[in-house]
């Protein structure tokens, strides 16, 4: 066994916590290694020193204070009632989600839809507008005869 492997075994050896096989291995190493032997003895000495520290007694009011803390605890509801009543945090989050959903719904109302049946009316209205231009109806013949000519500029008329 190497000195490095001893590191994880030496304290257990000192405490008497090693199994028979491991203990024999450690003891064999200690016979040959003065440094580890010294360390084992010093670890044992440290353990003995730690034992010298006195224990302290809890104060006389210790138990009374524990009892007071427990008495101040809110009583638990019976299980079926607790099941019916949601926890305050869950209830709060659920309410928040509901409000957010309603608010978002009101903010993102769909744009008014144009019914397809309206479209022909618009087209017809254009035709009506165009046909209502008296000068245009006068020039319709000339336009069809001469395709290369630009449409003469016309001032829009008031309906």
């Amino acid at each position: 066994m190497s000195c490095q492997k001893m590191e994880t075994r030496i304290l257990a050896y000192v405490d008497g916590g090693l199994r028979e096989g491991e203990r024999a291995e450690v003891e064999k190493h200690l016979e040959d290694c003065a440094a580890c032997r010294l360390r084992a003895n010093e670890f044992r000495a440290v353990g003995d020193l730690l034992d010298e520290l006195p224990m302290i007694e809890p104060s006389g009011a210790f138990n009374a204070r524990v009892h007071a803390l427990i008495a101040a605890e809110p009583e638990k509801r019976s299980s079926w009632l607790a099941w019916l009543t949601p926890a305050p945090r869950i209830a709060f989050v659920a309410s928040l989600l509901l409000v957010a959903t309603v608010w978002l719904g009101s903010q993102q109302a769909p744009p008014p839809q144009i019914a397809e049946t309206d479209l022909p009316v618009v087209e017809n209205a254009d035709y009506d507008v165009i046909s209502s231009f008296a000068p245009l109806s006068d020039l319709s013949q000339a336009q069809s005869d001469d395709d290369d000519n630009d449409v003469p500029q016309q001032q829009p008329q008031q309906m």
Binding site: E7, T8, R9, I10, L11, A12, G17, L38, R39, N41, E42, F43, A45, V46, G47, D48, L49, L50, D51, E52, L53, P54, M55, I56, E57, P58, S59, F62, N63, R65, V66, L69, I70, E73, K76
Partner: protein, 201 residues
């Protein structure tokens, strides 16, 4: 014939609504908990507050208690977490204070007087030597990094096995062994004068 109920049995009885079993657990563990926490946080008052908090948490958790681990593993895990959190908070507090106010005096040994009676030591000089020795040991433990300190205290004073301590500290057993090795290496250096005299004898 009286039989001693196991911790797990007591806790299961507490779960079933038996207050008397809680009292027995309180009686059984108040001393180990207060001493463990005292050596962790270095203040008697704070150690008692934390130990009371441990019992409160045990009581609160009674209805959900399942004996999946040893009771002491669960109990000391709560205590260790509370101690480490308290040390962390205390460190921040100290930092804030040190930025505002000058440090007046070193209050390290403020309330750390062990319960001993001077009459037991007629030889005052001998008594002072013993006190200095204990102070040195206490300081050596206090100087250990928090996790190493917890490992040493749980191993040495609570006599928990490696498997339990590793569960409490949430590390592997090999990591724990290495943690303890480093802690003992530090302790044997810090306590060198005492160690040397005891090895010679």
């Amino acid at each position: 014939m009286t039989t001693t109920r196991s911790d797990v049995q007591l806790m299961l009885d507490v779960k079933a609504g038996d207050q008397q079993s809680f009292e027995l657990l309180l009686q059984r563990y108040r001393m180990p908990l207060v001493n463990f926490l005292y050596r962790m946080v270095r203040s008697r008052e704070q150690a008692e507050d934390l130990a009371q908090e441990v019992f409160l948490r045990v009581y609160r958790a009674r209805e959900d208690y399942e004996p999946s681990a040893k009771f002491t593993t669960w109990l000391f895990r709560i205590a260790t977490n509370l101690a480490l959190n308290s040390l962390r908070d205390h460190r921040y507090q100290k930092l804030e204070i040190s930025m505002d106010a000058p440090i007046v005096a070193d209050a390290e040994d403020g309330d750390e007087r062990p319960m001993e009676v001077a009459d037991e030591h007629p030889d005052i000089e001998q008594h002072l030597v013993e006190e200095a020795r204990k102070k040195m040991i206490r300081h050596a433990i206090e100087k250990l990094p928090e996790k190493q300190r917890a490992a040493v205290l749980l191993h040495k004073y609570q006599e928990l096995d490696y498997s339990e301590i590793s569960k409490i500290l949430r590390c592997s057993e090999s990591a724990l062994k290495s943690l303890l090795f480093r802690a003992y290496e530090t302790l044997r250096v810090e306590l060198a004068p005492l160690v040397a005299s005891s090895v010679k004898h």
